[in-house]
């Protein structure tokens, strides 16, 4: 009896994590480039009820009669499916189509992101520097920050979708190639990236080293679409269905606890 109490409790705990995950997905339904997460469940260990078991005809079976001890959350996996491309007015908005990540720098640390909601900041030299909304500087393929003179027209910054090459128009209206290309990296196992919040990821032992898209053999290169942002890939309908399932599963496990408790109570009341 105590066994079923704990099994049901493990089920409730698992569903709680599931609901937490769903709630976080729903909260991020409008977060740029957010990737849906889902919980993976596994069975807990099995215990032997009867070492020698027999089938319905009374013939002995080779395996023992076993009972499982519940469930646990094995992992929370991110679904990296492409989000929608959402048009914006901003010249510095960029959407990655493909599996790449932008590299952004915070003083000396490099993080990776798919959130291309960039903006201009003015640095000490008076140049315009491409940064994220939080001020992380976007890196080019040489690992430098992307800077253009502050005299460059706001509306004339351009990014080549295939190569990431940046250009701007000078005061005379001529197109000037900066020679800087926006860097995109991929990861062997992007599910293994560490999430650090603010739409940023860090490389980890599980994700592997960043692979530069422009000079790694065999990598399918991504495209950068200027004037677009990548929407969250949360599917609200899916999440709602999952929420209902999780809530019902939670409820059922709690019913199992109540039932086990009632049975335990009856056992206790045998002696009046």
């Amino acid at each position: 009896m105590v066994r079923s109490l704990w099994s049901a409790a493990s089920g409730m705990k698992g569903q709680q994590t599931q609901v937490d995950t769903i709630a976080n997905n729903l909260a991020n339904v409008n977060t740029t480039a957010y990737k849906t997460q889902s919980a993976q469940f596994k069975t807990l260990l099995y215990q032997t009820l009867e070492a020698t078991s027999t089938n319905a005809n009374g013939d002995s079976k080779p395996t023992s009669a076993q009972v499982g001890l519940g469930t646990r959350v094995a992992s929370l996996n991110a679904n990296f499916a492409q989000g929608n491309q959402i048009a914006t007015e901003s010249q510095t908005a960029m959407c990655i189509v493909g599996e790449g990540f932008f590299a952004v720098q915070d003083s000396d640390e490099t993080h990776y992101t798919r959130n291309g909601n960039f903006t201009w900041a003015i640095n000490e030299q008076g140049n315009k520097v491409l940064t994220t909304a939080e001020g992380y500087q976007v890196l080019d393929q040489a690992g430098n920050i992307i800077a253009i003179p502050n005299t460059a027209g706001d509306l004339n910054f351009a990014v080549d979708p295939e190569t990431g090459a940046t250009s701007y128009k000078n005061a005379q209206g001529q197109v000037v190639q900066t020679g800087q290309r926006i860097a995109l990296y991929q990861f062997t196992n992007r599910v293994g990236l560490d999430k650090i919040g603010e739409n940023l990821y860090d490389e980890s032992a599980a994700s592997g080293e960043p692979l530069s898209e422009w000079n790694t053999q065999g990598v399918t290169r991504s495209q950068i679409f200027q004037n677009y942002l990548e929407g969250s890939n949360v599917n609200v309908a899916d999440e709602m269905v999952n929420l209902i399932i999780a809530q019902r599963a939670y409820e059922m496990n709690s019913k199992a606890i109540t039932t086990s408790d009632t049975m335990l109570e009856q056992a206790n009341n045998l002696k009046r």
């Binding site: 519940g70 996996n77 199992a256």
Partner: protein
């Protein structure tokens, strides 16, 4: 009379165990590839009841009065291998099996001992070296490893981690239209020889044999648990009521006993 008490008691113990098994199903209603289980009760061997030393009878010999069962015990825990529904995940490394079959896993326990286990949970990932691994980090075996029950380098599924890949319905992995490796899918000739380990894994015990599987491998999907919660709720009610009846039985037997001891046997 005391015999009746025990019979009712074995019934209650059985219902309790049935409840344990059923609760495990409910707890695993969201577990990938989980197969629901049920407990089958088995009556104890019937005993011949004999009336002995009936002094009223002239020859004073034991007399057979028929057979009686002294209750029930756990017969087996039966696994329902019905196919679970396919859930679309759009993750390249997720695979689901349609039909009879298992993936073979090179499982390493906490003590560092390695053995082969089987699973229908295809929530895999590709690691930085290109090895296909389970969510707990165990290696997935290729067709050579799965069929020959060998593991280690060369028997693990490995692909080029950089390139895109597609998995065909027979488990073959293609990169750049070339065959690179095959996910091993096997079947077991007699499911009576499958032991549950937990962690979504099964053991094959001696006597059972690995055979080729005709299961279809579906990429970008996972197999959902085949627990039907409505069925489980109904069986939970049945169990609770059967348990209650057993309890009533014991109380009735007890009050009869009480009468015998306190009312009839008053001195």
């Amino acid at each position: 009379m005391v015999k009746g008490l025990y019979t009712a008691f074995t019934g209650m113990v059985n219902e309790q165990k049935r409840m344990d098994v059923m609760t495990n199903n409910l707890a695993n209603s969201a577990t990938t590839g989980y197969k629901k289980e049920a407990m089958v009760a088995q009556a104890f061997d019937e005993k011949l009841a004999i009336k002995i030393k009936d002094t009223s009878h002239w020859h004073n010999m034991p007399e057979k009065i028929g057979s009686i069962s002294l209750g029930a015990k756990v017969g087996e825990t039966y696994t329902n291998w019905d196919q679970g529904a396919f859930q679309v995940t759009d993750k390249d490394s997720d695979v689901a099996l349609g039909g009879r079959g298992f993936f073979a896993i090179e499982f390493t326990n906490k003590a560092g001992e390695t053995s082969i286990k089987y699973t229908r949970d295809g929530a895999f990932t590709v690691d930085v070296d290109g090895y296909l691994r389970t969510s707990d980090g165990d290696y997935v075996l290729n067709s050579d490893g799965a069929l020959s029950s060998q593991y280690g380098d060369g028997y693990r599924v490995q692909i080029d981690p950089v390139l895109k890949y597609t998995i065909a319905s027979d488990g073959t992995i293609y990169q750049n239209n070339e065959e690179v490796d095959t996910i091993g899918v096997i079947d077991i000739d007699n499911y009576d020889y499958i032991n549950k380990y937990g962690e979504n894994l099964y053991d094959l015990i001696p006597g059972g044999n690995i055979v080729e599987s005709e299961a279809i491998v579906e990429q970008g999907m996972l197999e959902a648990s085949n627990v039907n919660v409505v069925d489980e709720m109904v069986s939970m009610i049945t169990i609770a009521r059967a348990y209650e009846a057993g309890q009533k039985m014991i109380q009735t037997e007890d009050s009869t006993l009480e009468k015998t001891v306190n009312t009839i046997g008053r001195v």
